[in-house]
């Protein structure tokens, strides 16, 4: 039998060094007892450790060290022996041990980790600093009683959070101090070492009492998350019995009381009526905002109406808004819009000179997880939206129309129009305007190979540059 004594029973480095030596000597876990504290040599008894029989440390998964580090903070006295047994098993052919969640040792370790993590979390939550004003400085001191040996593990959190303060955390087993520069640890303290109050605690209690909703009393839920054992160090907890007792009467009073007549009048907001000239594009846009002619508005964010010069000589009509256009409320701002802008630039056409709109004014999509897949508006939806397009053309009165994509082209030229055969040339319309169709920029984005994309883009720019002659 080997009796191992640990100076600091929670310290990973110490346990690790001793466990390594045992493992190198191939000492069976059943042959070791572990004990904390007290003096004694590396291996407490007179017996020395047998010489190493291994030449190298067997490989142990990295995850084990993390597990051991947390388990060591637990107060269970079996932790050193169990961890050594796990190490031994890992080194003796059970490489996948940590993946067997139902193994007794692994399940026990998981249980410890859960408890230690919870204790750490609750310490971060329930520490209450009290302010102490010294002559030329202010320090914050807290008394807390954790269940496990977690102060060294939690203190860095308080350093990261309260860097600009000087503070001390006092617990029965250890203390931690931050002077604004260095973190240091000391031996345990007593409750009496901490200040007994803070002037601000009344204010905090006021908040605690006021944020509580007496109509939703759920005392069990509160106790589950804020166990009673913590209450003695929480300044707000003394209010709990009274809040609980009064909750039901307070709520009944609310339900029974008749509504009152307002005894002072706060004026209702006046929606400033923005003067919109009747029949203007702005008036149309305002009307279209509430369009319900088809169902596309329901899941969509907003109507994406046309934008640009209201006296433009050319109106550009796309198909329908996409995800980005739906969110921004503006046409051609997404990836296809960016490509369109670039092509306009290369074609020497100023977008500001144009009026840009879509055939259908709402985004149509199918939700797929977190993304919205674009769907083509059907004939009914296109027909429902048509009056808006007609009205836009009526107001802007362009000399020419440019259609991007088949949906726009068919809205202007009729369903027999064949985009790829008839693109890129001005065609006279019965109403005296001329119109031209080309591809939609999203078509170019979908082309799979780079060569085709480059050629397609060049053709697109060439088509768009036909606008130039009309804009000079």
């Amino acid at each position: 039998m080997y009796a191992v004594t640990l100076d600091d029973p929670s310290d990973l480095a110490e346990w690790r060094a001793k466990a390594r030596a045992l493992l190198m000597a191939d000492v069976d876990p059943a042959q070791v007892t572990w004990q904390a504290g007290a003096a004694g040599g590396l291996f407490g008894s007179d017996e020395g450790l047998p010489a190493p029989v291994r030449t190298g440390m067997p490989a142990v998964p990295r995850a084990f060290l993390g597990l051991a580090d947390t388990v060591l903070a637990h107060t269970d006295p079996r932790r050193h022996a169990t961890l050594y047994r796990m190490l031994w098993r890992l080194a003796h052919g059970e490489k996948a041990l940590l993946r067997i969640a139902t193994d007794d040792d692994v399940a026990w370790a998981h249980g410890c980790i859960k408890q230690v993590n919870r204790d750490m979390h609750k310490m971060k939550a329930f520490v209450r600093f009290r302010e102490v004003r010294l002559d030329d400085d202010t320090v914050y001191v807290a008394w807390f009683e954790p269940e496990h040996d977690i102060v060294p593990r939690v203190a860095p959190f308080f350093v990261r959070r309260f860097t600009g303060m000087r503070w001390s955390l006092l617990t029965p087993s250890r203390t931690a101090h931050w002077d604004g520069d260095t973190l240091s640890f000391g031996p345990g303290a007593h409750r009496a070492d901490a200040p007994s109050g803070d002037a601000l605690e009344d204010m905090w209690r006021t908040y605690y009492a006021s944020i509580f909703n007496p109509a939703r009393l759920k005392v069990d839920a509160m106790r589950r998350e804020m166990p009673v054992k913590y209450w003695k160090n929480l300044p707000e907890a003394r209010l709990i019995p009274e809040l609980v007792r009064d909750a039901l009467p307070r709520m009944q009073a609310m339900v029974l009381n008749q509504p009152t007549i307002p005894n002072r009048k706060i004026a209702a907001p006046q929606k400033a009526a923005v003067a919109v000239p009747e029949g203007s594009i702005a008036a149309l846009r305002a009307q279209a905002r509430d369009c319900r002619a088809c169902d596309l508005w329901k899941p969509a964010t907003q109507t994406v109406f046309g934008e640009g010069r209201t006296d433009a000589r050319i109106v550009v009509i796309g198909e329908q808004p996409g995800d980005q256009e739906d969110l921004a409320g503006k046409p051609f701002v997404g990836p296809a819009g960016k490509l369109f802008d670039r092509a306009l630039g290369d074609a020497g056409v100023d977008r500001d000179a144009l009026y840009v709109t879509n055939t259908v004014k709402h985004f149509k999509f199918e939700p797929r997880g977190k993304v919205r897949l674009h769907k083509r508006a059907n004939a009914q939806e296109q027909a429902a939206c048509r009056p808006w397009l007609v009205a836009e053309l009526d107001r802007v009165r362009p000399d020419a129309i440019v259609c991007l994509g088949a949906m726009a082209a068919q809205a202007v030229f009729g369903t027999s129009f064949r985009l790829m055969a008839q693109r890129g040339e001005w065609i006279d319309l019965p109403d005296g305007r001329r119109a031209m169709a080309t591809v939609h920029p999203s078509y170019l984005l979908r082309l799979p190979d780079a060569d085709a994309r480059e050629a397609g883009y060049a053709d697109f720019v060439r088509d768009l540059s036909l606008m130039r002659e009309l804009l000079v």
Binding site: A101, T163, L200, F212, N213, V244, I266, Q324
Partner: protein, 404 residues
């Protein structure tokens, strides 16, 4: 009126907003600034009130004066509630004083609408900006965002805040119109759309100015109008997909002092809100769609006596039992009583060792609930138990209803 009296009024006025989350976003600490404050991903609940709700943030209104007249709201202009107004400096001081004592993770600031949406939003932004720039405050800041405020103010809000939120208030447009006459679904959606674009942009480009790194969230009031749970979940799905919300909060309408006559006399049972949160969870982390949880064809309400996953399983007995040694992760996640962690542990161990009935007990799953739906190498559930009987065995005891 002193600050304590104001605090009592303006915390009381804020308590109907369910959100108190301080999670999400990039980690941040004060080591570099020498100030105070940090956020490390997971939020911390510093206290719990007897309503079982977490107190993580100092949740207050800047003022409860309001020109709006939302029927469900304690601060509506026609209510006789006492009114108060904090100055920007008072909120800043209070936040810092609470934070230094470790009472809170940060600030959740909202406000009644005074003068104009822009005026109100400007005040909220000033609080956040003062905390960040003058006091090097690194704690969490959640600002309620007013849909009609100007884009410049919303950009400024996103610059200083971790999270922004706009409350959608009601699951349906009809509900909003009748209960919040000054609010408009179109305005709310387009403001959420703009927020999403700004959040996405800040995330995609390193050089872009900071914008609400903990994303946006919203709240819906449940039980004040006639909307069904299916309406609620459909609305949530739309919000999650369209605006990538981090959370939708459901707030069971709760009696308020000086209530309006238009409101229902009885609040919905709190368990309804609980079921909605469970359903929401299933949609976000378990691959369920809204119409699986609340299928068309019935009244669209979730069962109160069993949780939504169990209810789904009872409607789909043909999909069970699931062999825990073979089934896909997706299918295991659909087994009542199995959570993500347990499922991942089962998957990790089953390539080394076959799972037995005993392992279920060691994994601490609720065996009574799980066993009828799974098979292990030494267990097969009796196939003859009818769903009705099974449901009766597994139902949760009803919570006592305070309203009888």
């Amino acid at each position: 009126m002193n600050v304590t009296e104001k605090l009592a009024i303006l915390a009381d006025a804020a308590k109907y907003d369910a959100s108190c989350s301080s999670s999400g976003g990039k980690g941040r600490n004060s080591l570099g600034t020498g100030g105070i404050g940090s956020t490390e991903g997971m939020g911390i609940c510093h206290a719990y009130a007897p309503d079982g709700r977490c107190i993580s943030l100092l949740k207050i209104l800047l003022t409860n004066f309001c020109v709006y007249d939302c029927v469900y709201c304690v601060n509506r202009r026609s209510s006789n509630v006492r009114r108060a107004r904090f100055t920007v400096e008072e909120v800043v001081e209070l936040t810092l004083a609470f934070y230094k004592r470790n009472y809170i993770e940060g600030l959740f600031l909202s406000s009644g609408i005074i003068q104009s949406p822009d005026y109100t939003m400007e005040q909220l932004v000033r609080v956040a900006r003062t905390l960040r720039t003058e006091h090097r405050f690194g704690g969490y800041i959640h600002l309620k965002t007013i849909p009609d405020a100007s884009p410049e103010l919303i950009d400024a809000a996103g610059r200083w805040a971790d999270r922004l939120s706009i409350n959608v208030e009601m699951p349906t447009e009809g509900g909003l119109k009748s209960l919040a006459p000054e609010k408009d679904l179109g305005d709310i959606r387009s403001a959420m759309g703009r927020l999403r674009l700004s959040i996405d942009e800040a995330k995609a480009e390193k050089k872009a100015p900071r914008f609400a790194p903990a994303g946006q969230s919203t709240q819906m009031i449940v039980g004040a109008d006639a909307a069904s749970d299916r309406d609620v979940l459909t609305a949530s799905t739309n919000l999650y997909t369209n605006y990538r919300l981090r959370r939708v909060y459901y707030s069971a309408f709760s009696p308020i002092p000086d209530a309006s006559k238009i409101l229902p006399l009885k609040p919905p049972p709190l368990v309804r809100e609980h079921r909605l949160y469970q359903a929401d969870w299933l949609m976000r982390f378990y691959g369920f769609a809204a119409d699986e949880i609340a299928p068309a064809g019935d009244d669209g309400m979730l069962s109160l006596d069993v949780d939504p996953k169990l209810a789904w399983a009872l409607r789909h007995r043909e999909r069970f039992p699931v062999d825990v040694n073979r089934a896909s992760r997706e299918m295991l996640l659909r087994v009542p009583g199995l959570g993500v962690k347990t499922v991942d542990r089962m998957i990790a161990m089953r390539s080394h060792r076959r799972i037995r009935y005993d392992d279920l007990i060691r994994l601490r799953v609720p065996v009574k609930k799980v066993a009828p739906f799974v098979e292990t190498i030494d267990h097969r559930p009796r196939g003859d138990r009818e769903s009705i009987v099974l449901r009766k065995d597994l139902r949760e005891p009803a919570q006592p209803d305070l309203f009888g």
